[in-house]
Symmetry: C2
């Protein structure tokens, strides 16, 4: 029983070869959109259906096992759930980088303006990554 299998069970998701492959790809690549996933899984499962990808992604989101990240001017990507973090999106190569940012300062500012009760924070930086700025 490998890591991915254990992970799926932890989140009450039935273990199937297709699901293991999805987790594996997300683990390896960090962030993938639906098409990325479909193309990757086609290698292992030549007759896999896009519907299967959608169904699995949706049930994984419901179980909070993965999360959707909405990106400006691009398709949403999915990632394994982890501690709160921000994203850097390179507008040149499209690469997405996780960044640990402490948002206490922003939350502090917010609390001086409004009594809005924050549940979650989505923070995306768009710009040019190290590689592309060379």
């Amino acid at each position: 029983m490998n890591n991915y299998t254990t992970l799926l069970k932890d989140y009450n998701l039935k273990v199937t070869p297709q699901r293991i492959a999805i987790v594996e790809e997300l683990y390896k690549n960090g962030h993938m959109n639906i098409d990325d996933l479909y193309k990757k899984l086609l290698d292992k499962f030549p007759s896999i259906s896009l519907a299967t990808i959608y169904k699995n992604v949706n049930s994984m989101i419901e179980k909070l096992f993965i999360a959707e990240v909405k990106i400006p001017n691009a398709k949403s990507v999915f990632e394994l759930t982890k501690a709160e973090h921000a994203h850097c999106v390179c507008s040149s190569c499209g690469k997405i980088q996780d960044i640990e940012i402490n948002v206490e300062d922003a939350l502090g500012q917010l609390s001086t303006i409004t009594t809005f009760k924050v549940d979650s924070v989505d923070l995306v930086f768009t710009g040019v990554c190290e590689d592309c700025s060379k």
Copy 2:
């Protein structure tokens, strides 16, 4: 020549009654999705087409006159371009509030981690607004 007309001309957009109405609604309501706009404009233009809304929204985005805001678990909304700001989205009533947040602190943290060159920052707080938490 009213305000909206001048605004459109400033952004090199031809002035039509439909476009004036779109700007007017966005000005009054702050944030609207495509359907909101369509329903509102139907009052003034009973035979307006959704295609017209889409075409206009797209050309306004191209000219940087309006901007798309991607919201977690909801449709994108559009707003007139203005100074950088964050958004508070109420998961109970859906209302969206503009908030002026200074992101220097976050940018400072980012610069200690990576040399990613930031062009823009998208910051969305999801939670419960003042009204809904009563």
